[in-house]
């Protein structure tokens, strides 16, 4: 189980002192499902820093974080994705051996085959967490992804951190 006490000392100290409350989602937005899950078109989003081999790498040098995102076609072989996350706060071995651990494209294709969901979007979106200053994420890239989700007529979204 992950709690602050499980983190390395330096990471624990950072997390305990980071002003998370500044980013509290105080407006409590809530959208309701408009149809049963087995009719829904689902999209996946991860903050695992996954990208296609030919994609531009996430920028590790920006200490405040890289707020950009990459599109990942659901036609790719999931295991061919590159894990590009800069954080040393987590063990990368699991994701390296199974990218579905963070971006479960294969699991959701199985849900489509089992008729548990209607369909999986043709693309997923990948960010790299470790965003210390999320202002541009809030004001720019999260709205950009949301616009793309609306263009894709997505019914619901499943998100995974690492």
């Amino acid at each position: 189980m992950a709690t602050y006490s499980d983190l390395k000392f330096s990471h624990r100290l950072f997390m305990q002192n980071y002003p998370f409350l500044r980013y509290e989602i105080a407006d409590n937005p809530v959208a309701r499902m408009s149809k049963p899950l087995n009719e829904c078109k689902v999209a996946l989003i991860t903050s695992a820093g996954l990208r296609l081999e030919n994609d531009k790498p996430f920028k590790h040098s920006n200490k405040l974080g890289d707020v950009s995102f990459r599109e990942i076609s659901n036609e790719i072989e999931v295991q061919s994705l590159i894990e590009d996350h800069k954080s040393s706060a987590f063990d990368h071995l699991g994701i390296e051996s199974d990218k579905n651990l963070a971006l479960p494209i294969d699991r959701f294709k199985e849900l489509v085959r089992n008729k548990a969901i209607g369909s999986l979007n043709h693309r997923s979106f990948s960010f790299m967490g470790s965003i210390i200053n999320p202002r541009k994420l809030i004001n720019e890239t999260a709205p950009q992804v949301t616009k793309l989700l609306k263009e894709d007529e997505i019914d619901c979204v499943f998100l995974t951190p690492v």
Binding site: F20, I25, A31, R32, S47, I131, C156, F158, V162
Partner: protein, 84 residues
């Protein structure tokens, strides 16, 4: 910081009328940020769907998370139940 990143993206999507659910790996962070729907999983950082190459466990976690989409008494922070 991944949990914060996901929560903030989630909020923006939800504001635009698309229901969302996320996995949480750090309850302390999710409790403060309060995204609409999150499933807290008892796994270490880097393992949001439990274990690599364990499709059964990954499906259990996904199914429990997706079940939260029907709930609207947000914010919801549920605990993953390994046996259900």
């Amino acid at each position: 910081m991944c949990v914060q990143t996901v929560s903030l993206i989630q909020a923006e999507i939800e504001r635009n009328k698309i229901p969302t659910v996320s996995i949480s790996l750090l309850k302390e962070v999710t409790s403060i940020l309060k995204p609409s729907r999150a499933l807290f999983v008892p796994f270490k950082m880097g393992y949001p769907l439990g274990l690599q190459n364990n499709a059964d466990l990954q499906h259990k976690i996904i199914a429990q998370a997706l079940s939260l989409l029907e709930k609207n008494n947000t914010p919801i922070l549920a605990d993953f139940a390994p046996i259900s």
